[in-house]
Amino acid sequence: MEMKHALYYKSQKIITNTLIHVFLISVAVTCLYPLIWMIVSSLKTQDMIFKDISLIPHQFRLENYVQAWKEGGFGRNFINSSIYTVSVVFGIVIISSMAAYAFSRLRFVGSKFLFIMFMAAMMIPIPGSFVALYVLLNKLHLRNTPIGYILCMINVGLSTSIFLLKTFFDKMPKELEDAARIDGCSKLGIWWHVALPLAKPVLAVVIVFNALAVWNEYILALIIFDNRKFMPLQVALQTFQGEFVTNYPLLMAGLTITALPIILVYLFMQKYIIKGVTQGAVVG
């Protein structure tokens, strides 16, 4: 009787676990299917793309990538996207860590008010702000310029980064800073030599999330750039599709060029991404 009971439970557990795996695997396959399709298609010729429907590539036309990079113009846009991502993330790290350090450690009139203002910006959605931003950039003669885009994107990332860094600095023990102060270190020196190195784990979260956000950004790039030579990949892809509607292998190569760096960054930095998502969840 006992035996039978145990056997019953064991087999029930195996069945449940199998069902759960079937469910999880089918969702995982659905996640990967479009990506595999995209990569396989990017290696085909134009006439094979709608004929050969197997997921195993029979053609390896790496020329498609060369063509997309040069004639498709994606090389230029890839470099643009890289420049924007690196400079925006660099700007955000420096500017937001300085501000966060001041909000956490230094005393000055209006510090609370300023901090609340940054936090309010994080909470209030203003869906029409790009209209006003367009007008503003026109007035400043910064529209259709890389520097205008970079400044706008730094602003987009500031609030959340300040919040994450201030939360970290608040919990950081003060002893090390005190020691540095006694050694005659200036405030800027303490921020640079003591606070920033200690904040590495949070800085990783800030860097990864802002890099993803800038690389994937669309709306501001759309309204700021008229000229394809300044455009980042996301907007250039749309323009390309408008011009070469039917050249699917090149478009798929362009999409792969755009998606691959993000997927690689994600796979290498997933620890920080998962941490960021769960931390961000606590924030809300």
Binding site: I20, L24, A28, Y33, I95, V131, I162, V277
Partner: protein, 292 residues
């Protein structure tokens, strides 16, 4: 000496405050100001029209409310289908199960991709009616080949297709947050319930669900805010508003600005939409407070 120290403190926040004032505060004020004007974005003169823009939105602009309804429709599908799926997946991964990490890595790939990439890749698949479009092939396989068609160029199915691709892209967020929430529930609670003879359904209903309510509210708020503002996915998936069938508020604002050069009206639409979003989040928040 004191003055020097104070000035030094201000230099720390100066760059952040300067950028924030120019690129956030000024546009924020201008949106509210421009909303009261009729202006084409270029002319030196603009005419003050008071609340006429808002009056037009609330009384005449049928396309605006259609776009609000479309966004609401996508949001309802995301709130139900996407979040239930995310919760089930998180619950499955919270158990003692093999390859947990593998699933977690895969499920968060769609959220890190851009909407442009996701939209274009899916568009390519869905447009390939009898090739890559696996659903059509399955329909044909079970003898329902008549139902197979291009889901995106049919006005009746375009919006639902958009909603489903949106769910594909977004469920990973909910999944990760739910999983983090589930992992904070102490295992002893389940053990104790089992000793007391509770079935797994009972402990799910009486332990998991009540403890997860705050997390569910959080995911719901994030889903609403994110989904109502969807538009890049629609541009890359459908190509635009598809004669109103797939129009959403942000696309309407963009159309007022770039299509009909009505900058004031676009700002008024933005304010209206922002207010609606704030009110919805506030109601959800209050609702969750009451539930406790």
């Amino acid at each position: 000496m004191r003055i020097k120290a104070t000035l030094e403190n201000y230099t720390f926040v100066l760059p952040a405050v300067a950028i924030f004032s120019v690129f956030y505060v000024i546009p924020f004020i201008w949106v509210f100001q421009l909303g009261l004007y009729d202006w084409d974005g270029i002319s030196f003169t603009r005419s003050f029209v008071g609340l006429a823009n808002f009056q037009e939105i609330f009384t005449q602009d049928k396309f605006w409310w259609q776009s609000m309804w479309n966004a609401t429709y996508i949001t309802i599908i995301a709130l139900t289908f996407q979040n239930i799926l995310a919760f089930m997946l998180a619950w499955a991964c919270d158990r003692e199960i093999k390859m947990k990490n593998f699933y977690r890595v895969i499920f968060f790939i769609p959220p890190v991709l851009s909407e442009v990439v996701v939209g274009m890749a899916w568009r390519f698949i869905i447009n390939d009616i009898d090739g890559a479009n696996i659903i059509n092939r399955m329909l044909a396989g079970i003898g329902l080949g008549g139902l197979a068609h291009n889901w995106l160029s049919d006005p009746n199915t375009a919006l639902t297709t958009v909603a489903l691709v949106h769910c594909w892209k977004g469920f990973g967020w909910g999944f990760l947050i739910f999983l983090a929430g589930l992992q904070t529930i102490p295992r002893e609670l389940y053990e104790a319930a089992r000793v007391d003879g509770a079935s797994s359904w009972q402990s799910f209903k009486n332990i998991t669900i009540p403890l997860m309510i705050p997390v569910m509210v959080l995911v719901a708020i994030l889903t609403v805010l994110g989904t109502m503002q969807v538009f890049v996915l629609i541009v890359s998936l459908v190509g635009g508003e598809f004669a109103g069938h797939t129009s959403v508020p942000v696309l309407r604002i963009l159309a007022s600005m770039r299509g009909s050069s009505r900058f004031g009206y676009a700002c008024a639409q933005g304010i209206t939409f922002g207010m609606i979003l704030v009110i919805i989040s506030f109601i959800q928040y209050r609702f969750s407070k009451k539930g406790h």
